[in-house]
Symmetry: C2
Subunit: 416 residues, 2 copies
């Protein structure tokens, strides 16, 4: 077991900066050996975040191949924009390093196959840093599912019901660069951000381990919100107020699974609304969990039950979270950023596969291009590839330990 | 304008009994001239509900043609089971009478065409008694939409998130007959009950009056809840515990509209859950309504806003409801049963079309057979017929008065 993991870090934008600042620079067993960004001020910001914590001066480069070719480095974390991430991750794996990528999707299904090939040829794991898989509510529901409290699971919902902030749509508030997200809204029409919901749902439904996603159908509403938002914010004359955005305001996606379950997803980022929850919902024959209502509903509870979160956390908190609370929450997004980074680092230290593995990562990345196809064909169902090539039927969880998302494990040897 | 409307009433089951008891027998301008049921105790119950209120003795028959052929009768209300309703309604129209049918769908699309033909040949209106169109929340949202408070409408949701009671699934509690609903769950797999949501949504989206539904796609989860519910309730040995139900537990339906809007519906009746709402949701470029959260969200409100229903009712209550409150709520289901019956009766008195008209009724009834087709074809989109044959493009609201659902009207001449 390795004591110290040497990490190369590529991409120090809004999200890259936060993970660095809130999580990685505070981990004693992580050395940020080299950092990379094309934009000099971002690179300088990354450096200062590291040295401010008394950590060694990192190598700085604007060529990510300097990081991938560096033999000292154990793992590469890819926090760049959506486009091109898969290529960087695949090169990382061919260089014999663990790869992690930030939340997001592929543009084309070929990126998914490229990553599968890299994994199968090298054995080096790829992990999407899907923080919501380590959310407290999601993990409580996961525990309840794995312990059979909800009976047979039949259906799940989730939605990214989050009005994107102006700086993610129109300008990067710090660098004055356009944020890459807007390019997708101008040019594409798809479920571009499903994994905050689909990640936890996949683990609930044993996707790639006894179950798999079979078909996907997506539907786009018209696009009206972004233009109106821009007019209000930037004025009628702004370039952003005069674009005919391809991206529909509300994208509804339905996935059917081999086990007979259905998944309903919603992308909802450009119309005014309150941000209540990601509508993470698990439905079974004996009970349900609804994040929207903060209710875990089990047999014998009264029909009108409202928010029972406090009581349910006391009874059914996931052991990882029970321990995390005792130790004190760290990092951003209520602590789940920290946990997902720890899950990655612990896998490298133990030389094991990652709890969100290459097949998981790739299956989730495939949603955007598949939904784009389905929308383009008027909602026709499209087949979701079996990236495991049949191995899903008999695949067991390959990871033990407290970060495992395929069963509930307690492992006293692993530090949070 | 007619003073008194003579009604023939067919079907006195669970629902038929309630509408009779809570609404019709209390209306001074309604005479229940004849009643019909195949089951003698139901017929006797109907009679006693009428005479107990000091109303004239009704004609009693077990042949609905006695009612349809009775020249005294102005209108027939069809409260029979789902199967066969369309035929009774069409015969009613051919007999020159107004027809109303209880909430429900067709089994086959030919029933829809039969009703359209009956309407276009006779000019006699058909109205589905979709009570939720007259719900207070739905009408407040409708008013907000018609007044432009939500901006351009982009998407709507709704769901029948209501665990069916055992007496609607396994036995008729009063008559010991099987309830007809179970036959559908045993034999079909479809969105069998969409109109509580789709009715109000149609009115929000101007369906059949400037807009129409173009495609429908439906998806069924596996069927696991009903068998488990029966085992728990009736034991492992019960017939109901040993049926392989065709009906999936969760049916997700997506409808696309000519105006670019999407509609997401959910049928959710056989898995344990609390009954919070029908998730009636309207999304626009300037605001939203969510029944689930009891929030009307308008520009300038804070992002975390919770239940603001009281304040919103004070500001935006529909004028019909404002008046109804002042006069005192009547009838069942929080008063909306009363209003939908009044809407029908007032249309007959004024000799006008009904506010939920034949095209509306038929478009909604078509959802079940269309969703059955789509599910059978793995979620393939199916075309929704244009029952108006192009008239939707220029159709104006044909009804004035306070019961109008196509615009907000105040009419002091009409009594609630």
């Amino acid at each position: 077991m390795k004591d110290k993991i040497k990490v190369g870090y590529i991409g120090i934008g809004r999200r890259g900066k936060n993970i660095l600042k809130n999580c990685l620079v505070h981990m004693d067993d992580v050395e940020l050996t080299a950092i990379c960004d094309l934009y000099p001020p971002a690179l300088e910001l990354g450096r200062s975040l590291i040295v401010e914590q008394g950590r060694p001066e990192p190598i700085m480069t604007n060529d990510y191949m300097d990081i991938i070719n560096n033999d000292e480095i154990d793992a590469v974390i890819v926090m760049t924009e959506w486009a091109g991430r898969a290529e960087i991750a695949a090169k990382t794996m061919y260089a014999g390093k663990y790869a992690a990528i930030e939340v997001g999707c592929a543009f084309d299904i070929s990126e998914c196959y490229m990553l599968i090939e890299a994994y199968e040829k090298t054995g080096m794991p790829l992990m999407m840093l899907e923080n919501c898989c380590y959310g407290r509510r999601e993990m409580m529901a996961l525990r309840a599912v794995k312990e059979g409290l909800f009976g047979e699971i039949v259906h799940c919902d989730g939605g990214y019901h989050h009005v994107l902030p102006e700086e993610e749509l129109f300008l990067d508030i710090e660098s004055e660069k356009k944020h890459y997200r807007i390019a997708s809204y101008i040019n594409r029409n798809c479920e571009n951000y499903p994994t905050h919901e689909l990640g936890p749902i996949s683990k609930v439904l044993n996707i790639n381990r006894g179950n798999r996603m079979i078909t996907l159908s997506s539907f786009a509403s018209k696009s009206a919100g972004l233009k109106e938002f821009s007019k209000k914010l930037l004025g009628e004359e702004s370039t952003y107020s005069n674009i005919d955005y391809k991206q529909g305001d509300i994208i509804t996606t339905v996935i059917t699974c081999a086990g007979g379950e259905t998944i309903h997803l919603c992308l909802d980022t450009t119309l005014p609304r309150p941000y209540y929850s990601r509508n993470f919902t698990v439905r079974g024959t004996k009970g349900m969990y609804t994040e929207e209502r903060k209710v875990m509903f089990l047999e014998g509870m009264e029909e009108g039950i409202e928010n029972n979160e406090k009581e349910m956390f006391e009874k059914y908190d996931h052991p990882l979270w029970a321990e995390y609370f005792a130790e004190g929450i760290k990092g951003g997004h209520d602590g789940m950023d920290w946990l997902v980074c720890r899950a990655f680092i612990e896998s490298i230290k133990r030389g094991e596969n990652t709890p969100i593995d290459t097949y998981d990562t790739v299956a989730w990345m495939a949603i955007a291009p598949l939904s784009e196809m389905s929308i383009a064909m008027g909602g026709a169902p499209v087949a979701i590839p079996d990236f495991t090539k049949g191995k899903w039927i008999n695949r067991e969880p390959v990871v033990e330990g407290k970060y495992c998302l395929d069963k509930v494990c307690v492992d006293k040897s692993v530090k949070i």
